[in-house]
Symmetry: C2
Subunit: 585 residues, 2 copies
């Protein structure tokens, strides 16, 4: 049985294992995991040194203990991990043991050939072995690819009950190797049900500091930082690190004062660094930070936060009423879908809705394939759109980022099915203001349904900031009287509930001529009532123009910079303009 | 001294004078007014007969006693009127005497050559003579041209303290000879400070009934009806009327039950008709009607009621920033202004703003000339726009209709000057939400100014329905942060004060490219917040399109009839439309 871990106190992790092994005579090219089997006493001695230095947690010597890295080494993965946990547990006594899970050492799709499912399987065996051997914590660390981190986290959650910590490693440009920025990392990881997240390796504490502040700005879960002992420098043939234990500890204290809860060392750090760090924290109390919740969807490299500037959700990947897309899906023609994705991005979409529901195809398979293809080409957050919960779950699982689920509504059965998926995968969810009684006519009734959905979501631990309310656009040709109720509903929902809102705008004009004109007029009214993220066709110039103009009027496009940029050249002006007033002036 | 007149009770007027004179031997072509001088005893006898029949009011024999009709008759106008009042007063005893003022018998501009000012002078001498001779009431009657009625009413108000009653005469098509409909008549007359208004002559009571109901629907002052004794028919060489006293009385009772307060007879009616009428009212109590106030501007033939469908106030007749209009005004080129007026009407304007303020010209003279010219050509209500109270008063005085004054604001000095004009001429007034402190930044402060203006207006007897609040559009290029405050202010003013609103929309885009796009987007937002009557350029297709679309979305254009009519033909579609969704469908 693993021990309870109290994340409300400071936790000091140990420092480098590799650096210590090299000091103990490990040669370049030697596999450190082999020591678990062949020289466990060396590992134990290093663990002891860290325990003696004051570490609260020591990390098992299993950074590379996965099926890909141990392949052809003659080592048995299970043995390596089991022995590593055993020796750490022996050394730790009353201290905690963290199962170290490093990157698999293979590039994942779309950069390489490793699929999400394969990565999951590899992590799964590590987790199963480590948990069985008695680790207290799982630390997934030094991740460069957040997609790999997601696979590892899901494997850890689904195959153990241990608290999970995840750290990623950033380059000096402020992004991981595959392009994830701190906000995106936090937005994806903190919603995946882990205990702590943070930054490790690559940089020294000084270079990490701005990144740490970024992470602290957004993270509502404890933040861990494990810097290197400065940047590595070559001294002759040796790599040396220039940050002394005292300097390291001083930075550590600064970080703790800024709100970091868990500290440790990565490459180049020694028990002396940890000893000084531990001492530096004496008398400090963990900082309680208040983090405003935001409503943000992420791809692996880009986070879109709703509120402020209008966010466009591209509606084009949806076969409803679209013959060509339907045909493309039937012929398994992913190029057509990808073109739609790229076109929408090029025309200003911030988020892409993905709906592949046609009766003739296995929607789950098509959804997974479509998401993988799209996220390989376009770096926008996705909105997974299906009426089938199974399809939604398959989609959000393989989504490289934090997607939006489209949708839940006020029906009990739907909420019971969708909310567990929203919670488990840490998604946002669109909430339609309808229930078993259909779409209510009045704004007040739709507000009531929105309230009910938000309350029920709360029972699943889903905050209202993760809900985007859709007050539902009716068709003027069929329900003209109720059309403006939607605008009123948006305003009511915004004022009374303070949640983000979306609307599928173009529905309003169905069956009428000059649809674009009705759509753009409705859009302007809805935006001014509090619509944050219209679901629309970004290729409709009228709609795009309206969004740009609204961003000027609502002071989102400061000093009208984007607007002037788009229209200052008269050729780019809307063609419809025969405003004589202007000509006269 | 005239006696007090109680309009809270039924008042029964007398019947025809001419019919009775003919019965007494007056020949065709004889001037009835001559009887006042030459055979006053005949007149007195007729008056007595009506008094004996139960009339509460008798009408002096002065229908044609004006300088134009008495010209070349050898009769002295003053004598005719004085003697007529004297003989009536003698016959009336404790009953009331109404000075009869009929049409001048000359066509007024633009149909004829009689100017508003000339008409005023002619009515003035009648009123002065009649009031001096001791009439209790002035009844301006059988008016076909509401412009003439307005001249007569102003002459009566400005040259006597007597209560004024005004009736107009309608054709079977429901309009007066110069095209005034009942709503327009009521909207203009009841705001000119008269005691009662109504319908007389031309039609019998049966034909009048629907018109009477129209008048009762809108009139907040007592309504008078004086029908003929049916439609005139030729019997040989004689004109006879077919409605018997009993039938006449039955209709009279119906009208009284519907809300008519004052009844009498016109052509063909006799003391017998009045006697039966009087008897028919026994036991009836005057009906107290509750008339909802509306906010409506009128030309002589057309009333525009704010609320519901968007009303466009054309902004083009305003030299500010318009070089060509300035030049036209300098060269006294009225054709240019008239073209602007016609163009705006043709492009959907409901009301025309008229501003002729350039420093180089005498604004009062130009304003009066411009209004006369415009109302001769275009039948839209006008908005008289000037910063000079004198110009405004001159403009509203000669305006043939119920105009809007543009504008008053929250400054004490301005309110003290403008409100008396608004009240005297029964105008609507645009109230700008600014005061000595300039335009407040927040919506709440602008609401406060609107409240202050409405309260102060109330002290002048001006109801809030006669005030159109303008929350003032700021320029995005200079005050981007405050742009949306205007939209909020419109919503607040609408919700808290329930008044009509206007906005000069195009100001928002000043100094930015693609002005029309910003204008139309702002317009849609403002309309959805409660803007009733944008001041805008009707020739801007984008703006017009937006108004049409909004009328669909807000259910003003029922079943989208106008919209489909405008756009069903694809060539009339907005050009800016490259909505691929639509093409796909
Ligand atoms: Zn490291
Ligand atoms: Zn008559
Ligand atoms: Zn008459």
């Amino acid at each position: 049985m693993s021990r309870n871990v109290d994340f409300n106190k400071f936790l000091v992790f140990d420092g480098a294992m590799g650096t210590m092994l090299q000091a103990c005579g490990m040669k370049a090219g030697e596999l450190s995991e082999r020591y678990n089997i062949e020289k466990p006493e060396v590992i134990e001695k290093i663990h002891r040194a860290y325990i003696d230095a004051g570490a609260d947690v020591i990390t098992t010597n299993t950074f590379g203990a996965n099926r890909y890295k141990l392949n052809d080494t003659g080592l048995n993965l299970n043995d390596v991990i089991t022995r590593a946990v055993e020796v750490a547990t022996k050394a730790a006594k009353d201290k905690l043991v963290a199962l170290d899970v490093g990157p698999l050492g293979q590039l994942m799709e779309p950069y390489g050939s490793l699929s999400f499912e394969e990565a999951y399987e590899a992590f799964k065996e590590q987790v199963l072995a480590g948990a069985l051997a008695g680790a207290d914590i799982i630390i997934i660390e030094t991740m460069s690819d957040i997609y790999e981190a997601k696979a590892a986290i899901l494997a850890a959650r689904e195959n153990s009950n241990l608290p999970i910590i995840c750290t990623m490693t950033f380059q000096e440009d402020g992004r991981t190797l595959t392009g994830t920025d701190p906000l995106t990392m936090v937005n994806i990881l903190q919603n995946l049900g882990i205990a702590a997240l943070g930054i490790n390796c690559s940089l020294g504490p000084k270079e990490m500091m701005p990144l740490v502040h970024e992470v602290l700005k957004y993270s509502r879960i404890p933040v861990i930082v494990q810097p290197n002992a400065g940047l590595p420098k070559m001294a002759g043939s040796e790599t040396i690190f220039e940050i002394t234990p005292e300097m390291f500890a001083a930075y550590g204290r600064q970080m703790a004062e800024a709100g970091v809860r868990i500290l440790g060392g990565c490459c180049g750090t020694t028990p002396e660094h940890i000893r000084e760090l531990k001492n530096a924290l004496i008398g400090l109390k963990p900082v309680k930070t208040h983090i405003e919740r935001i409503t943000a969807a992420s791809s692996s490299t880009c986070t879109v936060t709703l509120g402020g500037e209008v966010k466009i959700i591209g509606e084009r990947i949806n076969p409803t009423g679209k013959k060509k897309l339907k045909e493309a899906l039937m012929k398994d023609d992913m190029d057509y879908i990808l073109r739609e994705a790229v076109d929408q991005k090029d025309n200003g979409a911030h988020i892409l809705d993905v709906n592949v529901g046609i009766p003739e195809m296995d929607e789950e398979t098509v959804m997974v394939r479509a998401i993988k293809e799209i996220q390989g080409i376009v770096n926008l957050p996705l909105q997974i759109d299906s009426v089938k919960p199974k399809v939604i779950e398959a989609g959000v699982r393989v989504c490289n980022g934090r997607p939006i689920i489209n949708s839940v509504n006020g029906e009990d059965k739907v909420m019971e099915t969708i909310f567990p998926i929203v919670k488990k995968y840490g998604c946002l969810v669109v909430a339609l203001t309808l229930d078993d009684g259909g779409i209510p006519k009045t704004a007040e009734e739709r507000l009531k349904i929105a309230e009910k959905i938000i309350k029920r979501a709360g029972e699943y631990g889903i905050p209202k900031e993760d809900i985007i309310v859709d007050c539902l656009v009716l068709t003027a040709s069929a329900q003209q009287k109720e059309v403006k109720e939607t605008i009123r509903a948006v305003r009511l929902v915004k004022e009374k509930l303070g949640v983000m809102t979306t609307l599928g705008v173009s529905n309003v004009s169905f069956g009428l001529p000059a649809r674009s004109l009705l759509n753009r007029t409705f859009l302007a009214a809805a935006l001014s009532a509090g619509l944050d993220a219209p679901i629309m066709n970004p290729m409709d110039a009228d709609m795009r123009d309206t969004v740009r103009a609204f961003n000027v009027l609502w002071n989102h496009d400061k000093d009208s910079k984007e607007y002037i940029n788009a229209y200052a050249d008269s050729k780019a002006k809307p063609e419809n303009n025969d405003n004589k007033t202007n000509k006269d002036l």
